[in-house]
Amino acid sequence: MLGALELDVDLRVAPGECLALAGPSGAGKSSVLRIVAGLLTPRDGRVRCADETWLDTGRGIDRAPDLRRCGYVFQEYALFAHLSAWQNVAFGMRKDVPRGQRRGRAMALLERFGMSARCDARPRTLSGGERQRVALARALARAPRALLLDEPLSALDARTRAAASRELQAILAEVGVPAVLVTHDFLEAAALGHRVGVIDDGRVVQEGRPADLAMRPASPFVADFTGASVLTGTARRHDGGLTRVALDGGGEVSSTDGVDGPVAASIFPWEVIIEPLGSASHSSAGNHVHAKVVSITQIGERVRLGLATPQPLAAEVTRDSVRELQLSAGSEVTATFKVSATRLTPR
């Protein structure tokens, strides 16, 4: 099923804590979950949960998936098509709950997710949001010792996703077992994970609180992944504590980070101010870059501007300012952002 994926990770999750593994597809995130659940056996590895060893290739221990008690929410939910919603939830109770009590228990769980009215429905008649809740209820039905969630929100539409995200946060807090969540979306990881591990090419490139990752990305990859724009160039330290970066392709920015040599400068879109060409207030604390508007995308009340500086730079402004500045694709503007908001990471 997998070719040869190099995976080298060391992760610890406390009870009640949610670790979000974020990274591009193919980075090995899902494989981590499959190894924890016992659905995939690595050449070398160890998996432990509390006082139990689930996998230790060195000692020849490899506990079968059905004996590990992992609550697993699969990417497309993997509900049993020939069973109703409550039968899906009750499936995991066969070993622990007497036959007569299973329906009642399953109904109580579905009730908890506001799904009791749909208990007899087959999965294919359920909406995406309803399927997600049945899948969650099913994963919790067996009193899991660990919770594994593979892109639990990505199959949902944007509106359902916000509500489902809040609900999931509440559930994770309530269940109190270690949880590992996998997502390709940094904002989702930041919303649901107490800690976020950014995984790329089978390795965790940075792990920490979501805010730390956004503020102090350890690599251009992490910076890019957290949603910041990344401009490459060459840095040289100057007197007065400022570092000047000559950008590849033209232009110059300053930063308070002291680095020399090839660097990536990362700037968050909401730190960027757009001003008409020539009218920019030339304060010393600001970076001013000549930019051309390439794209204008509305996201709710905000508008995301794609800029060419000539390197790509994203800016987020209000709808009013787009109107005031009469911005359209091709407009030439000055992009301004604080020197202290320009993060440098060596390349």
Binding site: Y72, Q75, F91, A141
Partner: protein, 249 residues
């Protein structure tokens, strides 16, 4: 075109009358043929389901070198002329076959009929089962495993029910093929009343002796075949789950 296809079937019913039908079906020769067909087909189906189901699941879910060749070999009897199948069985496990020296030899017995039916009908089931198992989503099986089901339980409770429409269709096709089997049975098992003379053989045998007996047996086969065809259509149409896609996994 339609007339051409339907006319022979209509003719079978026009040529026979209820009175003649009942008197023919009362003939011991006819009854023995019916009973033998029922018995041998049931045994052959039991063999096909018992061995074919795990084999098809294995072929659908495991990838190994030579898998395509194995699948082609399994499907071979599908295109083999029945007479050739009969000769092949004789050459392999007949009285002078290559396995005869080690004591494995059948022919001119009811067991030989069962073997001929199994050989000829099995690909109809295995092909369908392979496609249906291949269409079962592997993560659904994974989900069952994480919910405490052993491999065997996941197979019985998730894979089989999900693939059921395809398995039923395959069983019906194999059943139809086994009931109508003529050439291989004749070559390998011969045509002895009560021992190897199944309904198709009895039809061939009776049509020169008593044409109405042949007609009566034909009526029975037409009715059974129509019932099989309808049941396949019903299962396929009624269930959206039926997997007839190509193997994957």
């Amino acid at each position: 075109m339609l007339t051409f296809l339907v006319l022979p079937i209509v003719a079978i019913f026009l040529e026979s009358s209820p009175g003649k039908l009942i008197s023919s079906l009362g003939q011991p020769v006819v009854q023995e043929a019916l009973w033998l067909s029922l018995k041998t087909t049931a045994l052959a189906l039991a063999l096909i389901l018992g061995v074919g189901t795990p084999a098809a699941y294995f072929l659908a879910t495991r990838h190994f070198r030579g898998r395509a060749i194995v699948i082609t070999l399994v499907e071979l009897p599908l295109v083999l002329p029945p007479a050739v199948a009969g000769i092949g069985l004789l050459a392999a496990i007949g009285p002078a076959g290559i396995l005869a020296p080690i004591g494995v030899s059948f022919s001119l017995s009811t067991a030989a009929v069962v073997i001929a039916l199994t050989f000829v009908a099995s690909p109809f089931y295995v092909r369908q089962a392979l496609a249906s198992f291949g269409a079962v989503d592997a993560t659904v099986v994974d989900a069952a495993r994480t919910l405490g089901a052993s491999e065997a339980e996941a197979f019985a409770r998730i894979v089989i029910p999900t693939a059921m429409p395809g398995l039923v269709a395959g069983t019906a096709l194999a059943l139809g093929r086994a009931l109508g089997e003529f050439g291989a049975t004749l070559m390998f098992a011969g045509s002895f009343v009560g021992v190897t003379q199944t309904v198709p053989l009895a039809i061939y045998n009776r049509f020169s002796v008593r044409f109405e007996d042949a007609l009566a047996l034909s009526v029975v086969l037409v009715v059974v075949s129509a019932a099989i065809l309808l049941s396949v259509k019903f299962v396929r149409g009624g269930e959206a789950l039926g997997g007839v896609g190509g193997p994957r996994g």
